[in-house]
Amino acid sequence: MVGASDPLPGLLREFERRHGGVRVTSEALPWTADVQHQFYVINLEGRSAGFDVLMLDVIWVAEFARAGWLLDLSTRWLPADRREHAPATVEAAALDGRVWAVPWVMNVGLLYYRADLLARHGLAPPATYDALADQALRVLGAARDPALAGFVWQGRQYEGLVVNVLESFWAAGTDLLGTDGRVFPDPGRARAALASRRAMLESGASPPLVTAADEELSRREFGAGRAVFLRNWPYALPLFEAAGSPVRGKVGIAPLPGGGALGGAHLGIHAGTPHPDLAWRLVEFLSRPEAQRAIAAATGLHPTRPALLDPALREIFAGARPRPVTPWYQTLSATLQPELSAAIVGVKTPERALADAAVRLRYFLDPAR
């Protein structure tokens, strides 16, 4: 876990005290999500898994469940308990009418804005991406500062780009997957949403560096006072408010138009565990309110129970939406990344990019039905 002080060892020792004779060892995962995924696939596919409880990125739960690697938790994690958690986190844990993992820590995409600059123009945080682009141009036009940029987001060719475009899809009233499992259920709206992202770069509402930006690059630009708006995860807020930060006291937060993508992690149990009951007790223990509160205090990773959230964040977290909950999410995302990037940098029209992605996805996904 990240953070100033890792709360996990303390929690595990407490669990051991409560369960005499049980020893829990934790294994640190590789740093990036892609490599973690690879680590799990190799260990679980190779049947050499040396673990009972696993931390899962929200986007893997459906895939791992379909692969048969996760214990069905439907009879252990009861509906009454599920209702304590944010609906998006429960949605991400479900596949085929069953639940496969328990929400542990929650993340959601949100809009950071420079409250001082918006106030100077009498602007309220925007409710649509068009308004966001307009406001950015207006503030930039008045500021006449070549070092200041408008709306900074994640446009590098990677998972983050898929997340950003998906959030635009939602604001445009469509999704990546339809309820019937079809890719791009409303191609017209998807094209328009993608085109509006490209338009931000063309109009100057977003700076060129967006096409190379990941979370950290964009966070640093805003944190150095060089941007009016930023789309990022909640981890950035304490960094902006830290002593010595150039934007301290000047940052406002708002929900993204259309809602922010759900991030964070769930806890699942390996289907082949010799100790399912004990593993469940550990999952329960690590995800109960006291543990979530301790993790939040030490790391800035937020609880999945709205009741435990800082009231200032509650509205933003309530708008969280899961990325498409499908076993094929990795295929979907990895196939889309180069195509979305091509549309963002203007090499392809949105029509062409989405059509090319659809051709490839048909080959990958269709025979699986």
Binding site: A67, G155, V210, T211, L217, S341, D356, F364
Partner: protein
């Protein structure tokens, strides 16, 4: 002589078994895998014949990866050879601090690839990077890794910086073995610098350069780390090499059949290039 045969076979056996286990078997497995639709995570394993290859043949992303791989290889290796020879010649003429120059020259070659890639990531950073700052009076704020027209060039520069020392050092060592008397004879004959270089230095360097270029070409065809760290294949797939495409299919989407087919194509290209080089080297030896 024939009495030694059983002994020879016995002595060779361990090496042959080891090579078979670590080379021939995996290659055969990948070939077989490329004929399947295989997604092990979901228990999918169907024999589909050449369907994966047909899919690749009709997929613009595959041909894009072929182009990117070849462009990256040709440009970066050519620059490395030319710059490497120039640096070697300069080093030969250098009188003082030559050891220090050699040590500095070797530094990039010694760094782990990912460290190099991370360093260049910061150098190319759009607002804080040294390269962007130095170039900005000419080009304005530059977005080297995020612009489809510059991303591949930026990777080539990083690759040349990292591997040119290898060629420079080999050329430098070879230059040291050319007897001074050869040059003296050329000078007596009134040959100028260019003529001396073309008639003496280059022909004597050629065999070494050919072998070094073979190594570098094979490395460049298989390049992965720079793209993986710096661009992830983007923007718009402009830095997506065959290795990145294979990785995407093998490890991200877990479409092992398609990924294996990409790997087989890359394997065929590498074998073809190696064969062509070895023919050229043989021809050079025969001519001597």
């Amino acid at each position: 002589m024939s009495g030694d045969r059983p002994l020879a076979v016995a002595l060779l056996a361990p090496a042959l078994v080891a090579l078979g286990a670590v080379t021939a078997y995996p290659v055969a497995r990948v070939l077989a895998l490329s004929l399947e639709r295989r997604v092990p995570v979901f228990g999918i394993a169907d024999f589909v014949g050449l369907a994966n290859y047909r899919f690749l043949a009709g997929d613009p992303a595959f041909w894009n990866a072929v182009r990117v791989t070849l462009a990256f290889t040709v440009v970066s290796v050519a620059l490395e050879v030319v710059l490497g020879v120039l640096v070697a010649l300069a080093l030969r003429r250098q009188q003082r601090f030559r050891a220090a120059s050699l040590a500095l020259l070797l530094l990039p070659w010694c760094l782990p690839a990912v460290v190099t890639a991370r360093t260049w990531e910061w150098l190319y950073h759009p607002t804080a990077g040294l390269v962007s700052r130095l170039a900005s009076p000419l080009s304005g704020p530059a977005n080297w890794l995020g612009d489809p027209s510059t991303a591949l060039g930026a990777l080539v520069v990083a690759d040349v910086w990292r591997t040119m020392p290898f060629l420079a050092l080999l050329a430098f060592a070879r230059l040291g073995t050319i007897p001074a008397s050869v040059y003296e004879a050329a000078a007596v004959d009134g040959a100028g610098r260019v003529a001396t270089f073309r008639a003496i230095t280059l022909p004597l360097l050629a065999p070494v350069l050919l072998v070094a270029t073979l190594f570098r070409t094979l490395d460049a065809l298989r390049a992965f780390d720079l793209m993986f760290v710096l661009t992830g294949g983007g923007p718009a797939g402009t830095t997506e090499t065959l290795t990145i495409l294979a990785y995407r299919n093998l490890f991200q989407t877990l479409q092992l059949g398609v990924g294996a087919a990409v790997a087989v194509v890359l394997f065929a290209v590498v074998v073809g290039v190696a064969w062509a080089y070895l023919r050229a080297i043989d021809a050079g030896e025969a001519a001597r």
